[in-house]
């Protein structure tokens, strides 16, 4: 498999879960407005109100501030740098009807000014301190982060806490930034037939849940987003009791606790934070199909999605089985679908299976088959279904399962080289309703999955009547 091809293929298959849109930053500089603060922790003020720091063996600690802000610290002392992130439990699926894209729009607007910071000053200050910052939005969360030298944590918290409560926007900001997000949609979606197809697939998969609406928003609704839409989303959700602080790198939990109390601890909780209730999907009783034609399609493919359960707090067993099922069916060269469709027969140039269990509500289990030149989409789809039936008949190859579990164990060693990735995992999990304990139990749950669990999960999810099948096709008539 070619590396470049695998990357492209993975992108066209990236239907599942977090179609995050981000602000694309970096930032240069400006001499720091405020002198950088030292990380010297204030000695814990009042032990009676001090949160208890829970630590685990893998260098992860967690606690909660009195105002409800959850905090996770992932330690790595190899280099004096860290990443500071604040995650809000508010994403595109929490938007009011008619305002799709406002969560992401607001994410962009958070780089405008506050009562005490000029527009762009936050990024400029991060840059002036040798750091980089950015943000991203998905269905279930919006997150902001900076990567900086370890002794700049206090300054990062000071600015992030400031824009949690003191955002100041002008009509000019709105008009210009709305053009920017429309160009972002042009780039990510309108210019990309695969992305348009994926958007249609999601819209068909979710009849009643906001996961059917794209994170970046429908274009016609994005065009109408205004200052009031942005501010009302902001005031509703941006509060410490709706936020998770995740700090990873060269820092101790005690330092984080002291600084977090100083900067975030003084922000009052929002007593009116609404419960996270969304309209849910009804049981899917009928198979759905669509065809999307576009003159810009060079490589047609078949996409199949099934509504699937997500990881729930204290109940992740079925999701663990689905995770292994996706790996067995479509996790690379030795996977079942590759074996059947790319090696035993020459039906496909690429097959892939994706399952993202980190989701607040029902997620999807997705399969993609890119047929070989001369193989029709109909034949590719039939081969996919034959293979799925054969898999359920034959069961799991125990050696294959053992190899996957071995790699998952090794991944726990390799991941220590990338604490920012561990930090991301905690942020995502906590923003979608999981607990620190759920995250820490996950590796053991994966190891405990049996062949029977995998087949049970496959039978309950891979139901024809619970599926959406899409064909991405060339539009021959328009092609010249």
């Amino acid at each position: 498999m070619l590396k470049t091809f695998a990357a492209t293929a993975a992108m066209l298959g990236a239907l599942s879960g977090a179609a995050a849109a981000s602000q694309a930053v970096g930032a240069t500089s400006d001499a720091p407005k405020a002198a950088p603060e030292t990380a010297a922790p204030e000695t814990a003020a009042d032990s009676a109100t001090d949160p208890v720091i829970a630590s685990s063996t893998e260098g992860v600690s967690s606690f909660t501030l009195a105002n409800g802000m959850q905090v996770v610290v992932v330690e790595d002392h190899r280099a004096p740098v860290l990443q500071h992130m604040v995650w809000y439990r508010a994403g595109s699926a929490d938007e009011p009807i008619g305002s799709s894209g406002v969560a992401h729009f607001l994410e962009h607007l958070l780089f405008k000014g506050t009562d005490t910071m000029a527009p762009g000053e936050l990024s400029a200050t991060v840059a002036a301190n040798g750091g980089r910052d950015n943000a991203f939005t998905s269905y279930d969360y919006t997150a902001y982060f900076q990567r900086v030298a370890a002794d700049r944590l206090g300054l990062m918290m000071k600015m992030e806490a400031d824009r949690m409560t003191h955002l100041r926007l002008s009509e000019d900001d709105i008009a210009t930034e709305r053009d920017v997000i429309l160009e972002e949609r042009n780039m990510r979606t309108e210019n990309n037939p695969g992305a348009l197809f994926s958007e249609q697939m999601n819209a068909v998969q979710y009849l009643n849940h906001r996961y059917g609406v794209p994170v970046i928003g429908w274009k016609h609704e994005m065009e109408t987003l205004d200052l009031q839409d942005a501010l009302s989303f902001y005031h509703r959700y941006y509060a410490p009791n709706d936020a998770i602080l995740v700090v990873s790198g060269d820092v101790t939990p005690q330092e984080v606790l002291a600084l977090a109390q100083e900067h975030y601890g003084k922000i009052p909780a929002n007593p009116d934070l609404p419960p996270r209730i969304r309209s849910q999907e009804p049981p899917q009783l009928a198979e759905r199909r669509l065809q999307y034609r576009d003159a810009r399609v060079a490589q047609p493919y078949v996409s199949r999605s099934y509504l699937a359960p997500e990881r729930d707090p204290g109940a992740q067993e079925q999701a663990a089985a689905l995770y292994l099922l996706s790996d067995i069916l479509g996790g690379g060269q030795t996977s079942y679908l590759a074996d059947k469709l790319q090696f035993d027969s020459n039906i496909a140039v690429y097959t892939g299976v994706f399952y993202n269990g980190v989701s607040l509500d029902d997620t999807t289990f997705d399969l993609v088959v890119v047929p070989t030149e001369g193989v029709s989409l109909e034949a590719a789809e039939a081969a996919l279904d034959d293979a799925l039936r054969a898999f359920l008949r034959e069961g799991v190859d125990p050696e294959h399962l053992a190899r996957i579990k071995l790699q998952l164990r090794a991944a726990q060693i390799y991941e220590r080289d990338d604490v920012a990735d561990i930090a991301n995992r905690y942020g995502k999990a906590l923003a979608t309703g999981l607990t620190v304990e759920d995250v820490q139990r996950w590796p053991d749950l994966l190891q405990a999955v049996t062949e029977g669990d995998i087949l049970d999960a496959a039978r309950s999810v891979l139901r024809r009547e619970g599926s959406v099948t899409g064909w991405l096709m060339r539009d021959e008539e328009v092609t010249q």
């Binding site: 240069t28 762009g120 040798g130 900086v148 210019n191 060079a298 060269q333 030795t334 690429y350």
Partner: protein, 437 residues
């Protein structure tokens, strides 16, 4: 006063971050040189091998051979066919990644300490005894062809192809290393064997290693892995003649947003003015919100989601490039704003304040790059290929800080050539037509 204060802070922060990266030069008993950063805190090693030349070594008429050969390295070696090979790699919980570019072919490996010997045996077979089985060749060839067909309908790839052809003509840089559908279709197993012997030789090898390995163990590992490579491979191609005529080239393509690439002659990595140019580019369009292009095109006018410029010093030619995308009815204004900024900087240079900010940013952000063993291994190899000294990391920020306002403005006037700035626009741009200057 403010600027001085900032600089002092950054020196303090930069130094400790650098301290974590202690590079040793290792020469194996067999004479293979490598740079190593030892770090025993996690029981694994990242090993990066790079072979200079890359897809530019394709034989005449065999465009795409090295790319296809590289894609086939993980499709079977020695006694193992493609599936057995991947199963073996999975059972070792290691990963190999092979990639080909215009200047090098890279091999990135990551493996646990506990079974390092077995992993290196497999990598040895991969590099020395690839099978190029007929079914594997056809499978990967179909993937390459599928990718080429997709590129032909992707505005970014269309722009890249048009720009390359205009700028480099018949030189290997003038076409994609993936080849054409015709050239890829005609490649034979013999072509792949020739491509293999063109690339994998000791006279073009660069090695970086980071992680849980001692210099002695690394030396023995390298001799076992690479000691029996041939001494030399295909001759390196000559430098490219670079042509920039200025103006706009429109490539019509039905899509809502026009994609533009722009460029002009660049600057060699070893030019004494390279750092001045690098700092200037940071101010002009170096990827941050505060760059002039980002500020004028995105922040003030909302014309794009992103606009960037970058110096591209490569082995055989150096160019100065940029990219942007705007809706078809707005790209004309975007192109004009970029042209204006290019001219403004060429004529008026930059301010002391802009220079200071750019230096502060560049020097402060430098330590953040050294992020993880694989990333550091890749940087170690890049430094060696650029012929930089082993203490470069500790002196790099001094070189940035040494750029004076006079240097910067002299180089701005010399480097930036608005009349040679060529835009290739793919889409249905309104009010833009192909021109020459």
């Amino acid at each position: 006063m403010r600027a001085l204060f900032t600089a002092l802070i950054l020196m303090v922060l930069a130094l400790p971050a650098m301290a974590a990266v202690k590079i040793q030069e290792v020469t194996s008993p067999g004479g293979i040189r490598a740079w190593l950063v030892e770090d025993h805190s996690i029981p694994f090693t990242a090993l990066e091998l790079r072979f200079r030349g890359g897809t530019s070594l394709d034989a005449p008429g065999k465009r795409g051979a090295i790319n296809l050969m590289t894609g086939l390295l993980e499709e079977g070696a020695g006694d193992l066919d493609a599936r057995a090979y991947t199963r073996a790699l999975e059972s070792l919980a290691a990963s190999f990644s092979f990639d080909s570019g215009a200047d090098s072919v890279s091999v990135s490996a990551r493996f646990l300490t506990e079974n390092r010997g077995k992993v290196m045996d497999l990598l040895h077979e991969t590099l020395h005894a690839p099978r190029f089985d007929a079914d594997a060749v056809e499978r990967v060839r179909a993937q390459v062809l599928s990718g080429l067909h997709s590129d032909a309908k992707d505005p970014n790839d269309i722009a890249g192809a048009a720009f390359r052809a205009m700028t480099y003509g018949d030189h290997p840089y003038g076409s994609t290393g993936k080849g054409t559908p015709e050239s890829v279709a005609s490649l034979t197993r013999d072509d792949l064997l020739l491509a293999h012997s063109a690339v994998f030789a000791r006279d073009r090898l660069f090695v970086g290693a980071v992680g849980d390995i001692t210099p002695e163990a690394l030396g023995a590992l390298l001799d076992g892995l690479l000691g029996d490579l041939p001494a030399s491979g295909a001759p390196m191609p000559g430098k490219a003649d670079v042509t920039f005529s200025g103006g706009v080239t429109v490539v019509p393509f039905a899509t809502p947003q026009s994609v533009a690439l722009f460029g002009q002659p660049g600057m060699d990595r070893h030019d004494p003015d390279f750092f001045a140019a690098y700092v200037l580019n940071t101010i002009l369009g170096g990827g941050s919100f505060e760059s002039r292009l980002m500020s004028e095109v995105r922040e003030k006018r909302g014309l794009t989601y992103g606009v960037y410029s970058y110096l591209m010093p490569r082995d055989l030619a150096s160019v100065y490039m940029g990219s942007v995308a705007s809706a078809n009815d707005r790209i004309g204004e975007t192109v004009q704003v970029i042209r204006d900024e290019w001219s403004r900087m060429a004529q008026q240079g930059v301010t002391e304040e802009e220079l200071d900010k750019a230096k502060t940013y560049l020097t402060g952000a430098y330590p953040l790059r050294f992020d993880g063993n694989g990333q550091i291994a890749s940087i170690l190899v890049g430094m060696q290929m650029d012929n930089l000294p082993i203490d470069y990391i500790t002196t790099r920020n001094d070189r940035v800080n040494a750029v004076t306002l006079a240097d910067a403005n002299r180089v701005a006037a010399e480097l930036l050539k608005p009349d040679q700035l060529r835009f290739v626009v793919v889409g249905q741009p309104e009010g833009l037509a192909t021109t020459t200057n």
